[in-house]
């Protein structure tokens, strides 16, 4: 007889308790999870976990916390489906599961010594916040660092309370599609911020995360400004049931988004997204 050993935290969820739950926007909230089985797993900016709500199911969610503090697992979740709606109703003190971290994240080391553009659309700032934290902690490793953030309305901005604090250390530019009477900032699509940012295209790296159409326009604008396509990285999203390349659901042409991504060099992503329904 042969037993079937599974790795806890990889094949089966590791237990976590919701220590803090904060609302970000009308449909988005952030969990601060404390691991109950040993120290939290180290993660790289851009990696994700499969989060489990008891009886409801699992969803892939990128980690939005500080990579220097792996003891606390932070996830920012938008309630858009059945499982995430159940998650939205969970209270502080309730327990959930997490498997991971999975995937290849943002190549922060590759960007060192040059300018770094962090371009986010809507909830796409969540997977990029670990990059922001990383640059705040290691500011001297980079030349100019700019966060360019677009959202539909001011009410859809994530981490609004933190943005001002970041401004003291890196450049932060925010734009919204529609501002309303109280809004004094920029109005327009995220790519417009690229033209206003201070960077040297020859020495710049860009990390872009948001809706696919937003990433396409931003990448095109970056290329237009002289940033080499291979120094632009985007994060893709597909259906996932395992996170480990075993369920086959996230295939996009020859790649498994879960383990070959979710972050891809733009030339790779452009090729994969160019064909319809790949």
């Amino acid at each position: 007889m042969i037993a079937m050993p599974a790795v806890p935290g990889v094949h089966t969820p590791a237990r976590h308790v919701i220590r803090r739950r904060a609302r970000e926007t009308a449909d988005t909230f952030t969990w601060e999870l404390a691991p109950l089985d040993g120290p939290g797993a180290r993660f790289a900016p851009g990696q994700f976990n499969m989060l489990y709500a008891f009886g409801a199911g699992e969803v892939p969610v990128s980690i939005s916390g500080d990579p220097a503090r792996p003891g606390t697992l932070i996830h920012t979740i938008r309630a858009v489906g059945r499982v995430t709606s159940v998650m939205e109703r969970l209270e502080e003190g309730e327990q959930v599961g997490a498997r991971g971290p999975f995937g290849r994240g943002w190549p922060v080391a590759e960007a060192q010594e040059g300018d770094l553009l962090i371009v986010a659309g809507g909830v796409g700032l969540a997977p990029l916040r670990p990059v922001v934290y990383h640059t705040l902690a290691h500011r001297n490793r980079y030349r100019n660092v700019a966060l360019l953030y677009g959202a539909r309305t001011p009410a859809d901005l994530l981490f609004a309370a933190e943005l001002d604090g970041w401004r003291a250390i890196i450049a932060v530019a925010v734009t919204v599609d529609s501002g309303g009477p109280q809004w004094r900032g920029d109005v327009g699509a995220a790519p417009r911020l690229i033209g206003k940012a201070d960077f040297d295209p020859a020495r710049a790296t860009a990390f872009v995360c948001g809706p696919e159409v937003m990433m396409r326009f931003c990448a095109a604008e970056l290329v237009n400004r002289g940033v080499a396509a291979e120094r632009i990285h985007v994060s893709l999203e597909r259906n996932m049931a395992c996170g480990m390349g075993l369920c086959g659901r996230c295939q996009l042409g020859p790649v498994f988004v879960c383990k070959d991504g979710p972050v891809f060099p733009y030339p790779v992503a452009r090729e994969l997204l160019a064909a319809r329904e790949l």
């Binding site: 007889m1 042969i2 037993a3 079937m4 050993p5 599974a6 790795v7 806890p8 990889v10 094949h11 089966t12 969820p13 237990r15 489990y52 008891f54 009886g55 409801a56 199911g57 699992e58 858009v80 489906g81 003190g93 309730e94 327990q95 959930v96 599961g97 999203e237 597909r238 259906n239 049931a241 395992c242 480990m244 390349g245 075993l246 369920c247 086959g248 659901r249 295939q251 996009l252 042409g253 020859p254 790649v255 498994f256 383990k259 064909a275 319809r276 329904e277 790949l278």
Partner: protein
């Protein structure tokens, strides 16, 4: 050895603790399931297969392994169609625990596995047992396998393993290889070992050595089978055709026939994609995560908030065949097809992958 002596191999394997699994006729169809003795093998059964159709006849011969590929295969035994992945429990205070199902794997011996299926098992290993992350349940079942492959002297109408280089002979991955020669009352089984476990089995069985004439007759049987088989694409040829044909108008034509039923993926011995479902008990204290075979032909397969990544049948068919014959190379270093012909036989509308790939090459096959 004479076919009757196969009983000694069955006894030996059972004595070693293996549960025996092999081809057998059940309700008029050849399945790959638990068997007890050589009498359970589909003696004299031959498959008549054309695209979209399969019928089994007794042909009056006494061949044990001329039955062709059934819809069923080893896949069901190494990757069960429904499998509990974990069981979550929540106590009254809300504390969670995660456990594995109380399942133990009994080592199995596959007697009479087809060479194409053995090739499929080795391909499946690459996908599930050799990457950074592994399907631990598969690895455990796989590790316990004893494989007695039966070389194929009677390919069925949809078979094209010779083109894919996966049969009809077997050259690796087995513990024992059986080859049937002769006919009627003069039928003999030649048996050779391919591993230490296989050699130990042969030592115990203590069979007479095959004659040179018998060996050449066995080689001829396999060569004749290869020569008589229909031609399909080569693995590299199929890969090139699909990579070239990504935007071919053929996809929309095929989609008019394809029912998106997923039969091809279900019968394919290498298809491994799956779905998961979470089932909560009525007492609210227990929830099971169950993994089920899931063909890539449903909308749900790629559904993500807002829609499916492949809403059209053309997109889904293209994904299935392109993954199988092209992307598999990028992912696992080999083609995902072994030419067993199951997807052709069990397609309810008879879509033939060989014909589809030929059409992408601009050369209708027939």
């Amino acid at each position: 050895m004479a076919p009757d002596e196969l009983a000694r191999l069955f006894e030996y394997l059972a004595g070693e603790g293996y549960s025996l699994i092999g081809p057998t006729l059940r309700d008029g169809a050849v399945v790959f399931d638990h068997i007890r003795c050589p009498a359970d093998l589909p003696r004299g059964v031959r498959a008549l297969q054309t695209p979209g159709s399969c019928r089994w006849d007794h042909d009056g011969d006494s061949a044990l392994f001329a039955h062709g590929a059934g819809a069923d295969s080893f896949k069901r035994h190494v990757s069960p169609p429904r499998e509990t992945v974990w069981i979550a429990r929540r106590d009254r205070e809300g504390a969670l625990t995660f456990g594995q199902p109380p399942q133990q794997v009994q080592p199995a011996a596959y007697v009479g596995m087809r060479p194409c299926d053995l090739a499929a098992l080795l391909i499946r290993d690459r996908a599930l047992a050799q990457g950074d992350y592994r399907d631990t349940a598969y690895v455990a079942r796989r590790a316990g396998l004893f494989i007695a492959v039966a070389e194929c002297a009677a390919p069925a109408g949809n078979c094209f393993c010779a083109s894919m280089g996966t049969g009809p002979g077997a050259n690796r991955g087995y513990d024992l290889a059986l080859t049937e020669i002769g006919n009627g009352g003069r039928r003999m089984l030649l048996i050779r070992s391919g591993s230490a476990r296989g050699a130990a089995a042969l030592d115990t069985l203590n069979l007479p050595f095959a004659t040179v004439a018998q060996l050449s007759s066995a080689r001829r049987a396999v060569e004749t089978a290869a020569a008589s088989m229909r031609r399909g694409p080569t693995p590299e040829g199929a890969r090139a055709a699909l990579n070239r044909g990504r935007e071919s108008p053929r996809w929309r034509e095929t989609a008019k026939r394809c029912l998106a039923c997923g039969s091809c993926a279900m019968v394919c011995p290498t298809c491994f994609c799956h779905a998961v479902e979470d089932r909560a008990g009525l007492d609210r204290g227990r929830a099971e995560r169950v993994k089920t075979w899931a063909p890539c032909f449903t909308r749900e397969f790629t559904y993500i908030h807002g829609g499916a990544a492949r809403p059209s049948v053309a997109g889904r068919y293209r994904h299935w065949i392109t993954h199988k014959f092209a992307a598999w190379f990028d992912q696992f270093g080999v083609s995902g097809c072994v030419g067993c012909g199951r997807c052709v036989t069990w397609c309810p509308v008879g879509i033939d992958v060989v014909e589809e790939i030929a059409a992408l090459n601009g050369a209708p096959d027939r």
